[in-house]
């Protein structure tokens, strides 16, 4: 068990290193000349003075060979130093750390909402014997994955802030300010969980062991909740692993819509001002969240299904 965890942590570190490399390739190598890009397309369109560029290049180390740059950057990144923001001059790490709590609040709330409502909807839809109710419930998730998140956010603002005056339209204040953005963020994720769980439940209910349980004289609810649900929850768990990173990324859109401060806002601003170090930090951080959540989920799998031994990922 301990060896397994150690191995997984090493693997996770490997993925993070690779993610950093991808971010480096995309952001520092692909533009060819990031300083010109920064200087040319930044806030100030006119500042293309060659001397200034040369000076900037030297400052950021872009005049060195790529591999040397990469090694230097990686060395600093390992120590948690992703450089300074081009736009504000503050260290990237502390910029992200300051913005993180608000976003963490938002994404955690959204994830819980998505699991509860999405999972509940799937269980209810597959349990009910009323055809019309099942039809109605099963038609909701496809709708949920089809609507643009930003639009849902705007519509919620229109309905619940401007018309009903129930919740604030923007800002970070308290629990009331969290409600609308969390709902908007949770809708596509919850819909996805719901789709996957419902499909998996329907498949599981056709398994022969479910028939064995019915042949024992077990009732509908017992078969559904005690036998089928646990077997059916693995695919949904896998989806949650993917969603964790996506929620983080979608906060870029939602925080923009609701003018909330947070990691998403920081990212949107950084992309807008071509603030490469910040974007790089965000990409690596997103990958970190994904790796962390999936590490936890991999450890949960064997608790749900004893066939999955800790030695490897589910087949």
């Amino acid at each position: 068990m301990r060896r397994y965890v150690i191995r997984r942590v090493v693997q996770a570190a490997g993925v993070l290193w690779a993610a950093y490399t991808v971010a480096f390739l995309v952001l520092d190598y692909l533009p060819g000349d990031p300083v010109s890009a920064m200087a040319g397309q930044g806030l100030d369109q006119t500042s293309t003075d060659p001397a200034q560029i040369a000076q900037l290049k030297h400052e950021y180390g872009f005049d060195k060979p790529v591999l040397v740059q990469y090694a230097e950057y990686l060395g600093r990144a390992v120590r948690g130093d992703f450089g300074d923001s081009v736009a504000t001059g503050r260290p990237v790490t502390s910029t992200l750390a300051d913005a993180l709590p608000a976003t963490l609040q938002l994404t955690t709330a959204a994830l819980l909402l998505a699991i509860l409502v999405g999972g509940g909807l799937a269980v209810l839809a597959t349990y009910t014997s009323m055809r019309w109710l099942r039809q109605v419930l099963l038609s909701l998730p496809p709708l949920g994955v089809s609507v643009p998140t930003f639009w849902v956010g705007l519509m919620l603002v229109e309905l619940f802030s401007f018309r009903a005056h129930l919740f604030p339209a923007f800002g970070n204040d308290g629990l009331r300010g969290l409600v609308l953005p969390a709902i908007a963020l949770a809708i596509p994720s919850g819909a996805l969980i719901s789709q996957v769980l419902a499909k998996s439940l329907l498949n599981t209910l056709n398994e022969p062991y479910v028939q064995t349980a019915r042949a024992k004289g077990a009732g509908r609810a017992r078969v559904h909740l005690r036998h089928a649900l646990r077997n059916a929850s693995l695919p949904a768990l896998t989806v949650i692993g993917v969603l964790a990173g996506q929620l983080m990324a979608n906060s870029v859109v939602i925080e923009t819509v609701f003018s909330r401060n947070g990691l998403g806002r920081v990212t949107a601003t950084a992309v807008g001002s071509q603030d490469i170090p910040v974007v790089q930090g965000v990409v690596v951080f997103g990958s970190f969240v994904f790796v962390l959540v999936n590490l936890v989920i991999d450890l949960v799998y064997p608790l749900i299904d004893p066939r999955i031994v800790v030695a490897g990922r589910p087949a």
């Binding site: 993925v15 690779a18 993610a19 991808v22 971010a23 995309v26 952001l27 692909l30 533009p31 990031p34 890009a37 397309q41 496809p142 709708l143 994955v145 089809s146 609507v147 643009p148 998140t149 930003f150 639009w151 705007l154 519509m155 603002v157 229109e158 401007f162 022969p208 993917v242 990173g245 996506q246 983080m248 990324a249 979608n250 870029v252 859109v253 923009t256 819509v257 990212t267 949107a268 950084a270 992309v271 807008g272 071509q274 490469i276 974007v279 790089q280 965000v282 990409v283 997103g286 990958s287 994904f290 790796v291």
Partner: protein, 299 residues
């Protein structure tokens, strides 16, 4: 279980009597198939309309999407302007119709990038196997570990703004998914008995690949492509909503909504109706993907 067995009877009986078991693919069967699925028909109509709008916007409207009539600012939806008018008096419906060209072009490019790059990677990994598979799939794992929108944003930061660049950024972000599905399908088909049977009767590797593996593996990839079409519409519109797409006067769908956002309190139609169009288009492509999925798995 017993159902399967007993459906087998019918097939067996029919064959025994020399009657071919028809799969219902004759004309009447096709009509019945669609009559029972009005939602699917509606979805196909929706997608056809959007594609027509993308190529021949003048079929739907004769109004100019870029120049407005200042006297007709902020008119609510009605007979004259189906979707109302915006702050410059431009017809919103016309903007959406003309915007389809930009948004569809971006989406198609994104899907094409994903399917070509991802498909080739997956095919190579699945068919060649061994170290090629290991290397490619590790790379894909890494790409998957970066949330798609973050990866797109990084690419936009590097490449700059514009419809084309957004499209490429969105396409590359879904390369990994395509590579995975393609590889899984190739592996599944490669292990199928009929592939070994073909190999054991002397077919060369390229024959096996071209005649057995690709045709049998491509189905789920096409389904994914249809699904990805919807996902890409959403991703492209998100990026253009954030302001990284075509610069303002251009009526890209996400940009139109972003512009309308400022007048949310007094002109709801500027955001609500374009959003409806996006949602309906995505819903339609998802519905079609579901139908294709059913067809492929039942084949």
């Amino acid at each position: 279980m017993s159902q399967m067995v007993d459906e087998g009877v019918a097939a067996e009986a029919a064959v025994g009597l020399g009657v071919p078991v028809e799969k219902g693919r004759d004309g009447a069967g096709v009509v019945r198939f669609f009559l029972r699925r009005p939602g699917l028909v509606l979805s196909i109509v929706m997608v056809v309309l959007v594609v027509l709008a993308a190529f021949w916007p003048n079929l739907f409207t004769s109004r100019d999407p870029l120049t407005g009539v200042p006297a007709q600012r902020f008119q609510a939806p009605g007979g004259a302007h189906w979707f109302g008018t915006d702050e410059l008096g431009r017809d919103v419906f016309s903007r959406i119709v003309h915007g389809a060209a930009l948004s569809m072009k971006a989406t198609l490019i994104a899907v094409a990038v994903a399917i070509v790059v991802g498909g080739l990677l997956g095919l190579a990994a699945g068919f060649v196997g061994r170290w090629v598979d290991d290397v490619l799939m590790r790379a894909v794992d890494v790409l998957l570990s970066i949330p798609a929108l973050f990866l797109s944003l990084a690419l936009v930061t590097a490449l700059g703004y514009g419809t084309m660049k957004v499209a490429i950024a969105v396409g590359i972000a879904s390369v990994a998914t395509f590579a995975r599905v393609m590889r899984a399908e190739v592996l599944r088909v490669r292990q199928a008995t009929y592939v070994e049977a073909s190999r054991s009767c002397g077919t060369r590797w390229y024959g096996v690949l071209g005649r057995h593996v690709l045709p049998n593996a491509i189905g789920p990839v096409l389904v994914l492509a249809t699904l990805d079409f919807g996902t890409s519409i959403l991703a492209v519109s998100s990026l253009s909503f954030l302001g990284y797409g075509a610069p303002p006067p251009a009526p890209e769908w996400g940009t139109v909504i972003a512009a309308g956002r400022n007048y949310l309190a007094n002109a709801w139609w500027l955001t609500a109706l374009p959003g409806f169009v996006i949602a309906a288009t995505v819903l339609a492509t998802n519905r079609i993907a579901r139908a294709l999925d059913g067809e492929w798995t039942r084949r």
